[in-house]
């Protein structure tokens, strides 16, 4: 029998710090939160196991379920706007940037990415000021092109506020799809493009038939990153509309709903157990989304090896 190798302690030493911190601060609390959603407080302030009752309240009690569905639908709309606006703009900018012999490409790249590095606090307030009817930058600019009648206090109107916020968020994050797709486009070998040109495939049809299929995996990754980011968003709404996600909850998304439930607001007291139930629901939504991506979309996307 071969001699057993001595135990390689250095592997443990290398892995231990990362695994410990990650497990203690991320995995354990995550499981703890899922677990906490099964408990509740009695009148006497004792914590008791209530099974799925918190979820029954969340989905069954009209006061809760109305807020939950409102937040979920708003969140879905928020995500849809990102997919419909952010990705096409990102693809277009990346396609332009990657065109050969484009001058100042580095400058455009750097400048267009700047909003992405700003914090939500800055972005939220900056746009709030610009769109403010008091200051008058937005109405003034519309006036200059003769469209003043189109102006409305967008962030203050129930029917526009959420879409406006989604567009602000798109403005902020368009740099990420731009960069990732730009990278994907740069990695398309010249031979493929040359072969297409030999066959007379140029311009638009080259983009649709050659480049787009090759960057689809990147678009897939961007979509799932956007999905996770959107369904876990909080800051932008909190900064620009407050924890109440006004006007009249029109901009309430799951993140702000979780925050309000957990910490309470105005007359309602904070409730960690219902908060945990909402976090669990968000966890399930994100898990379903990520699974759909991993199993249904990613396996069907063809990857080309060069």
């Amino acid at each position: 029998m071969a001699q057993r190798k001595p135990f390689r302690w250095h592997i443990v030493v290398f892995l231990a710090p990362a695994v410990l911190v990650y497990t203690a601060i991320m995995i354990v609390p995550l499981i703890g939160t899922l677990n906490l959603s099964l408990f509740s407080l009695t009148e006497a302030g004792e914590r008791v196991f209530v099974g799925l009752q918190n979820f029954a309240t969340l989905f069954g009690d009209p006061r809760w379920s109305e807020s939950f569905w409102n937040a979920l639908i708003n969140n879905a709309w928020f995500f849809l706007i990102h997919m419909l606006v952010q990705n096409p703009i990102g693809v277009m900018l990346a396609a332009l940037l990657s065109s050969p012999r484009l001058r100042m490409a580095a400058f455009y790249r750097t400048a267009i990415f700047i909003p992405t590095i700003l914090s939500f606090v800055i972005v939220g307030f900056v746009w709030k000021l610009i769109l403010s009817p008091i200051w008058g930058i937005a109405p003034g600019m519309l006036d200059a092109v003769g469209l003043k009648s189109l102006f409305a206090p967008w962030l203050g109107k129930e029917e526009y506020a959420l879409t406006t916020l989604a567009l602000i968020s798109v403005w902020q994050f368009v740099g990420i799809p731009m960069m990732l797709i730009y990278a994907a486009m740069l990695s398309i070998p010249d031979e493929v493009i040359e072969a297409a040109e030999m066959d007379g495939v140029t311009g638009w049809s080259q983009f649709w038939k050659i480049k787009l299929p090759l960057i689809l995996p990147s678009i897939g990754i961007i979509s799932i990153l956007t999905f996770v980011g959107n369904f876990n968003a909080f800051d932008l709404v909190y900064v620009s509309q407050g924890a109440l996600a006004g006007p009249n909850y029109a901009t309430d998304i799951l993140g702000t709903f979780l925050y309000r439930t957990f910490f309470g607001f105005q007359l309602q007291l904070g409730d960690p157990h219902m908060g945990a139930a909402i976090a669990t629901a968000m966890f399930a939504i994100i898990l379903v989304g990520v699974s759909i991506y991993l199993f249904a979309i990613q396996t069907r996307l063809r990857r080309y090896q060069f």
Partner: protein, 279 residues
């Protein structure tokens, strides 16, 4: 002839669209910065004009520096960001080295376990994180934030760094082993210096969300002594919402450090995102 004219047209159109979008991206920042240097009257009368000697006014900045303890907030943000960055890079590189260098039972499983955190946001565990921090007396300390951000940054750091570490030559490490270097020395003396560019990339990726985060400072460390600059400016602006000079100046102060950091590191960041694609 025709195709040359065609390509000129296309290049002009490309620049046109890119310039238009650059203006859209930079316009809000520009408006804030120029107006933060103007007097109240000028802010409202001519919001788009550059500050002139008549309208130039630092009253906003004076209010901010007098009222809010922005220097302290800035220091807190620096401490939290640099501290978290150090641990993410250190622990992340060590774990990535273990995963990419050694074959051991459970290697793949460990990799998957650590990668979970890339997809699942740490915020969902907030309720329990707060309980842990309360139980261990870490609420309203910067340590709590450093711990959370370290855990948050590790998964992606390990993922990216192990990709890079696989490309470090085996011959070099084996030569080190023959010369009698311990595994620790091989990691610290040979491998770590070689993956420095990757470390810089991970640093930039990790740094931006930490610096900009509002959620955890708001929940774990909202006290005056531990406010980060992001939370500090949020609270300040909330209080001074009618004092436009002060609000604009606070925004200006919040933008500048990030912008400077970005301009220093933008090359690194872009190289990191487009890694492997550069021909």
């Amino acid at each position: 002839m025709n195709s040359a004219r065609h390509s000129v047209f296309r290049s002009v159109a490309a620049h046109g669209i890119l310039i238009l979008y650059t203006v859209i991206a930079l316009f809000p920042v520009f408006v804030i910065v120029i107006n933060s240097f103007k007097s109240r009257r000028a802010i409202f009368n001519e919001p788009l004009a550059l500050p002139t000697p008549e309208t130039f006014d630092l009253i906003g900045y004076q209010t901010v520096l007098k009222q809010g303890d922005f220097f302290q907030y800035f220091l807190n943000s620096m401490t939290v960001t640099v501290g978290s960055l150090f641990f993410v890079l250190m622990f992340g590189a060590m774990a990535a080295f273990a995963l990419s260098e050694y074959r051991f039972r459970g290697n793949l499983l460990m990799g998957l376990y650590l990668a979970l955190g890339i997809m699942i946001p740490i915020r969902l565990g907030t309720v329990a994180i707060l309980q842990i921090m309360v139980a261990s007396g870490l609420v309203n300390t910067l340590t709590a934030l450093v711990l959370v951000y370290t855990a948050q940054g590790l998964p992606l750091a390990i993922f990216i760094l192990s990709e890079f570490m696989r490309s470090v030559s085996d011959d070099l490490k084996n030569a080190g082993r023959i010369d009698g270097l311990s595994e620790y020395k091989i990691f610290f003396r040979l491998v770590l210096p070689l993956v420095r560019p990757a470390l810089a990339t991970v640093a930039v990726f990790t740094m931006i969300p930490i610096w900009n985060d509002l959620w955890f400072p708001l929940i774990l460390a909202p006290s005056e002594e531990t406010k980060t600059i992001t939370l500090g400016s949020q609270v300040f602006i909330g209080q001074f919402v009618t004092n436009w000079n002060a609000v604009l100046a606070a925004l200006g102060l919040a933008i500048v450090p990030v912008l400077v950091l970005y301009l220093i590191f933008s090359r690194q960041l872009i190289r990191g995102i487009t890694a492997g694609a550069v021909k």
